[in-house]
Structures are given as structure tokens and as C-alpha cells.
Symmetry: none
Subunit: 225 residues, 2 copies
């Protein structure tokens, strides 16, 4: 769902820095925009609504700290991640930077790799709740939202149906024995009839309108596209 590329705005007065940093971030799949000074940074930020802004502290026409203050005072930029990038590695400015409301602070010279790692770490924290979703082809199963989407159409499954699909899809291609399914979903102490699984399978097939669950006669079921 949230597959839109993250938008990053970098503001620095040194063209070299802009180029190196944007080159590396673009390679990581980010959408990168640049600004040469503080005013331009603010202007572009208002138009672009970036997810993350990297600000050089020492810039003409408003310093990074000033830019940060201005942006943070607007509700639109409360969410935006802001990183300061600067040659000053002295403690005083580090503290000032973080107190302004920046999320991170990196001293130059810095390797692109470290920058990228930090950027990713910040995005990771912002996102959370990912990785858990299962994506197989055009089927997307999200255990947190408890919903299933096929070709981006949400489909409502009942609890047991969802659990069953989730189990099968957790290892696409692998066959689950009927017994295995029973113990995984119903537990060892609950005993249900033979046709119960079939009925649930049927309902899933019906609702998904997609032939993704294959019967392996005498053995069990598997999820496959």
C-alpha cells in the first residue's frame, strides 16, 4: 500500500555535497530534490512535502536551524523527519540542533553509506508495522489490519478463514497436511469434523475469486498462484 517512494529534500550550499548525497539516495530508490540555501529549502519543502529533509547548518539565506524552526512551527511539517548535516562537529551545535526539533545530526565529512543507514533507520521507526504482511503475487495478507487484498481490493474474511489462508500463504507452495492444519488452527484439544476444513477452503476460494489454493488429494492443501 505504502509503496510510494519516499521523498527527500536536501539543502546545502556546496554543490559537491548535493550531488554525492542525492546520487546515493537516488540509488537507494528515494525521490530526491535539492535546494541551495535556506529560503529555497523552505520554498521547495512547502511545495514538495518531503518525507525527510536534510539541512546543512551553515547555509546562506537562513541557516539549517532557522529553516528547521520555521518548518516545525507549521503543522504540515510536524511529521517530517529532519536531519542536520554539518561540518561543525562541536558539541554545542549538536545540542542546539537536536533541541530545535531535528531527528538526527550527522557531521561532515560523512560517508554516504552511513547517511543512508541513518535515513533508513529513521524511516523504519516512522513506518513500523511492516514486514509482517505477506505478499504473494497480487495477493496481500496483512495480519495487523486483519485484511486480505487481491489486486488492491480488500476482501473481508472471517477469523477462521483468515487464519487458514494466512497459514497456507505463509509458506507458498508447501503442502499442509490436513492434520497439520487442524493442530495449527484448531489446536490439539478441539476436534472438528472432516468436512470443516473443506468448507472453509471453499469460502476462501469463493471470496478471493482466485484459484490460489490447490488441493493435493489424500494429502492436504497448498497456497500457490
Amino acid at each position: 500500500m505504502d509503496a510510494a517512494p519516499k521523498r527527500i529534500l536536501i539543502a546545502d550550499d556546496e554543490p559537491d555535497i548535493l550531488e554525492i548525497v542525492s546520487y546515493n539516495l537516488q540509488n537507494e530508490g528515494f525521490e530526491v530534490y535539492t535546494a541551495k540555501n535556506g529560503d529555497e529549502a523552505i520554498e521547495r519543502a512547502k511545495i514538495l512535502h518531503p518525507d525527510l529533509i536534510i539541512l546543512d547548518i551553515m547555509m546562506p539565506k537562513k541557516t539549517g536551524v532557522e529553516v528547521c524552526n520555521i518548518l516545525r512551527s507549521q503543522s504540515l511539517f510536524q511529521e517530517t523527519i529532519i536531519i542536520f548535516l554539518t561540518a561543525l562537529s562541536d558539541e554545542g551545535s549538536q545540542i542546539k540542533g537536536l533541541e530545535t526539533g531535528a531527528d538526527d545530526y550527522i557531521s561532515k565529512p560523512i560517508s554516504p553509506k552511513v547517511l543512508i543507514s541513518r535515513v533508513n533507520a529513521l524511516f523504519r521507526r516512522l513506518n513500523k508495522e511492516k514486514g509482517k504482511t505477506i505478499n504473494v503475487g497480487n495477493v496481500c495478507i496483512d495480519p495487523v489490519r486483519f485484511n486480505v487484498a487481491v489486486n488492491n481490493n480488500n476482501i473481508i474474511l472471517a477469523k477462521k478463514e483468515f487464519e487458514l489462508l494466512h497459514l497456507l500463504a505463509s509458506k507458498p507452495g508447501r503442502v499442509f497436511l490436513r492434520n497439520e492444519i487442524l493442530t495449527q488452527i484448531w489446536g490439539t484439544d478441539v476436534i472438528v469434523g472432516d468436512r470443516t476444513i473443506d468448507v472453509h477452503i471453499r469460502k476462501i476460494r469463493q471470496k478471493l475469486e482466485l484459484d490460489c489454493i490447490t488441493t493435493v488429494k489424500g494429502v492436504g492443501y497448498k497456497f500457490e498462484l
Copy 2:
């Protein structure tokens, strides 16, 4: 609401570091706990549920990275802020650290002031996610003013109703288990009957005149437009 002091766990094998860092953090009003090695860190984390964990990378009985991996694999520690603290300032370990799912990375020797600034910056970011107004479609929830607006019509909700709506709307689309709702809103020690949540949900649905709370039978509720 969230006036409880933040709980911080520090793990390092050097007693000096533990003392300096905890002294400084305590002065800032944090509740500080310590661990001497990786295993102890995990053990104490499970009992204490700290808001933030500072891990030395080089520790006996599991390194900081190992501890981070173990904790992050548990849902309880998904939200916890983790900072690595280490003497290694080489690039490689910085990257590895951040990719493990840490939120920040600080090299020794580091001044207590900088550490505190970073800790505060991380907490600030975390808090921002509370207290801020939630806007989903034509629904606007402002926890500061304590009011809800649908299509710019203010609606008066009682406290519990508001808390419940705010919780659900904080992660639109995500399903909240009944248990989760109970602990988030009523706390762990208060015990309320089974139908209590339902009644509040009903009132919200009634007042909002909008079908935005979906029941997921056998699971919980979710906010969705």
C-alpha cells in the same frame, strides 16, 4: 496523561560508563536501570519494559546487536527506542547497528550532554505521535482540545468514548484486539465487563453518525472510512 517518568535501561560492561550515564540521565528525571551484560539486559528488559534501551555493542554474554535482534523479534519491544553506544566508530558497525533496527548510534567517548540531547530528541519524536491531531478523511480528532469534528461539525464525546476513538483512529485500518483496547484504555488492573467496550463503540457510532468503526468478529475493532 503520560506524566510517568520515562524508564531507561543501560547495558554496558564498564561500570564507569554505567555510572556516568545513569547519573546524568537520572538528573534529567529519567528512571534509570542498568545491566552488566547482554543476557542481563534481555532479562531486565522483559521485566522492566523500558521506554528506551542503551546498549553497548561490545559486551560479554551477547553483544548489543544480538540483544537488539532478540528484543526486536518480540512484539513487546517493537516500540522501544534502542540506542547503540560503542567505542567502535568505524563505519561498518554503524551500519550494522542501524540495520538491526536501532534508532540511534553514538560513539564513545561521548559527552553526557550530547547523549541527553539525543535521548530527548528521540523521546520528542515519539511523543509527537501522541498529542497531535489525527485527520482521517472528513474526521478530525484533536486530543489537545479534546474534540472531534466530522465535516467540520463538532461532536461532543465523553472521555472514554474519546479515548477509544482516538486509539482506534491512531492507526486507521489496523485492528485492535479487545484485550489491547482494555489495557490501553482501562489499564491492566481495572477489570470491566465484556459488554463495556461494545456500549462505548455503540455510542461513538451513534454520535458520529458515520460508519467508521468496523467490527472484526472474534478479533476486535478497527477504524476505517
